[in-house]
């Protein structure tokens, strides 16, 4: 074999990196990760499709179709006027469909035509340009009266031939509107954070159980400190999650903007969109590490997938409660409820993201991130200690599989 030894003592960070590198590449290049990525993409695709169809339906619903049954010249003038005015007025200008060109002496019954349902019309315009008649359902036709009059006037050549440019002078929304809007942004942000964390944190758990199944955990535990193993696993999964989020985010954004939507449709957070998004990433990482460290500690005690499912359920429920608590606190800014939600480590990422949506100060985020990191470190150490204490048993005492999970926790 080789030569002089080239290995040296690994620092805790370097040891964690060895684990993280292995886990990251192994997961990223596995077939299951492709399916993992595709699952939410299908969901995003379907939601966007549904949103697009809905938007189309809404647009169609807001642009009624009116039938025209007039003398050929009048009908043509009306259609021409509609084209010109639609450019100025947009979707609120009804679409015109010539349903009959009335010859001199011909009798046309618009009521019968409406009742026949031969065309899906909102109303029918008859008469002449000087005296148009609008026939349609009571309560609806009054809405179109003015626009039909405008069309007729324009068709007669009485409308303006030149549209003067109009300067826009907007006014800011009221404080109440702004607060309400930012609250919505805060709550939507929390919801996205919760969904991502719940979907992704479970991966840590299954990874550790798989590791125990491979029986490699003892090799790892002998070579490097257990907390470095845990840190490596957590950060590998975090990196994998970031890849997932990046893919989903890019795909979702492409669909979203591709369908003509914009971020300006939503109330801007107090801290601004770029910083709010950056905080979203940071608090996702923090929340993920916190939840993941709990999952790791639990996963180290579980021996089967069934046990993992049993154990992950209460943790997920607790996480849901934390989310609901933080969500509730959004509506109570400045109160002890909000402060408590910020201080409790597991609700803190949600509460702080909401804080970012409603307040422009940055320093509380720095404090919160340090606080959350401290808890991650504490939980990782506790998990590693639990693992060393409870899992690496052998001989007659190693009857771990026969003991209940509750007993194992009690004993720990």
């Amino acid at each position: 074999m080789s030569t002089a030894p080239v290995n040296g003592r690994l620092s805790r960070l370097a040891a964690a990196y060895v684990i993280a590198r292995r886990d990251f590449t192994a997961i990223l290049f596995s077939r299951s990760f492709i399916f993992f990525l595709l699952g939410p993409l299908f969901m995003i695709g379907l939601m966007s499709l549904a949103g697009g169809i809905g938007q189309q339906v809404r647009q169609n619903a807001s642009r009624p179709e009116l039938g025209v049954a007039m003398a050929p010249a009048d009908a043509a003038a009306m259609v021409k006027a509609q084209r010109v005015l639609a450019q100025q007025i947009g979707a609120s200008m009804p679409t015109l469909v010539v349903i009959r060109e009335i010859k001199p002496g011909e009798v046309f019954d618009p009521v019968a035509e409406m009742k026949s349902n031969r065309a899906n019309l909102a109303a029918i315009v008859t008469g002449t340009l000087e005296r148009p008649v609008l026939t349609g359902p009571d309560g609806r036709i009054a809405d179109w009266q003015g626009r039909v009059g405008l069309l007729a006037a324009h068709a007669l050549g009485r409308g303006p031939t030149v549209f003067p440019p109009v300067t826009l002078a907007g006014i800011a929304t009221s404080t109440a509107d702004q607060t309400s809007g930012q609250r919505s942004t805060a709550q939507i942000g929390q919801m996205v954070l919760f969904m991502l964390m719940t979907i992704l944190a479970g991966m840590v758990l299954s990874n550790l159980v798989e590791e125990k199944g491979n029986k490699i955990i003892e090799v790892l535990a002998a070579a490097i400190p257990m907390d470095a193993v845990f840190m490596g696993k957590l950060f590998a999964m975090l990196a994998v999650s970031m890849v997932g989020i990046a893919v989903w985010g890019l795909a979702g954004s492409a669909l979203w903007f591709g369908l003509g939507n914009g971020v300006t449709n939503y109330p801007a957070p107090a801290i601004g969109w770029p910083m709010f998004l950056a905080l979203g990433v940071i608090y996702f990482a923090m929340g993920y590490l916190l939840l993941g460290s709990i999952f790791l500690a639990i996963g180290s005690l579980a021996t089967t997938v069934r046990e993992v499912q049993t154990l992950s359920m209460p943790v997920t429920v607790l996480q849901l409660l934390n989310f609901l608590f933080a969500n509730f606190a959004v509506a109570m800014p400045g109160t002890w409820v909000e402060k408590l939600a910020m201080a409790v480590p597991f609700s803190s990422p949600f509460a702080m993201l909401a804080y970012g949506a409603q307040h422009a100060e940055l320093w509380p985020h720095a404090v919160a991130v340090w606080w959350q990191l401290l808890w991650v470190a504490l939980l990782v150490r506790a998990g590693a200690a639990l693992f060393k204490k409870r899992v690496m048993q052998s001989g007659p005492a190693g009857t771990e599989k026969k003991r209940g999970l509750l007993q194992r926790f009690r004993a720990a």
């Binding site: 090799v219 002998a222 204490k389």
Partner: protein
């Protein structure tokens, strides 16, 4: 087998190690001294505390009481790059290729990944496993995967190698190969410590052994000293079945026909020989055999521990 082990500095020193699990004392005051460059065996039946002792020495778990010093350090993880460990329950990532697995095990011990992989390929070639270099672990037989893990344990050229039941699951051919490998490691100055429940392995390989039973170590020291704990055994065959010469035999001597078995008397063999000759016993054969490690184990650890040891499945011995 290496010599003069007692003169060397200690690679491992453990004093009064205690480990309890839920009120059960798995290891109860274990003292072990492993000289550098020696082959040291921890011998005992399953559940005796062998694995727990090794895990404490490696820092996988911490002792509840006692001290451990491994290569001069109290915290074994600090010198993990100089230690190799093959656990009893072998495990590798199934999707890794053989050379990648060796590289990864080296990386865990501080070897750069690229260097570990390079050495992995080289080791596989040298050990007749070149055809498996690019095969995934899941594609290898259990025995081959074990060999890959063994090579991964040694890839970083450790000063101390710890094997937990290394012969378990290996066929006779590979057991022989492993024995040669252990001797070669010791010849290079590497300290090798392994646990086993097969006395023959310990007897063939070890300079020193610790006999462990019920979490305690009733004996730790050179194999020769263990054997000397019981008196050599005398086998005698006589032409005559009876005579006054029989009075010279120890009272606890067993006999089957004209064959006699007894421990060598404290007075030595000469007075007995004289009595046999003068009594015209007609000596057909006489042999004095030094006690084997098995007899020593029975004498030291007791019949119950020996029975437990014998009850365990022997590998392809």
């Amino acid at each position: 087998m290496t010599s003069n082990a007692a003169d060397r500095p200690l690679a491992i020193e453990a004093r009064g190690l205690v480990k309890r699990f839920d009120g059960f004392t798995a290891v109860d005051g274990v003292d072990i001294s492993v000289p550098e460059g020696s082959i040291y065996g921890i011998l005992g039946p399953n559940g005796a505390g062998k694995t727990t002792t090794l895990r404490m020495l490696l820092g996988i778990i911490d002792p509840d009481e006692g001290i451990r010093r491994v290569l001069g350090h109290d915290r074994p993880h600090e010198i993990a790059h100089t230690i190799g460990y093959l656990p009893e329950e072998r495990g590798l990532y199934p999707s890794m290729k053989a050379y990648e697995a060796i590289g990864f095990l080296g990386a865990l011990r501080g070897l750069p990944l690229a260097e570990g992989r390079r050495r992995g390929k080289q080791l596989l070639e040298e050990n007749g496993l070149g055809y498996a270099i690019d095969r995934q672990i899941r594609q290898l037989s259990k025995g081959m995967a074990q060999q890959v893990q063994l090579l991964g344990t040694l890839v970083h050229e450790p000063k101390l190698v710890v094997f937990d039941e290394p012969f378990s699951g290996l066929d006779a051919l590979n057991q022989g190969k492993l024995e040669r490998m252990i001797r070669a490691l010791a010849a290079k100055g590497t300290t090798v410590i392994f646990s086993t429940h097969v006395i023959a392995h310990a007897e063939r390989l070890c300079d020193e052994v610790a006999i462990i039973a019920g979490g305690k170590v009733p004996f730790a020291g050179p194999v020769d000293v263990a054997r000397d704990r019981i008196r050599p055994q005398v086998r005698l065959e006589t032409r005559e079945q009876d005579g006054v010469w029989r009075n010279a035999l120890p009272t606890d001597a067993r006999h089957e026909g004209r064959h006699w078995y007894f421990s060598l008397p404290e007075t030595g063999i000469e007075p007995l020989l004289r009595a046999l000759i003068e009594g015209e016993a007609g000596i057909l054969s006489l042999s004095i055999e030094r006690a084997g490690l098995h007899d020593a184990f029975v004498a030291i650890a007791g019949e119950a521990a020996a029975r437990a040891l014998e009850a365990e499945p022997e590998e392809a011995e």
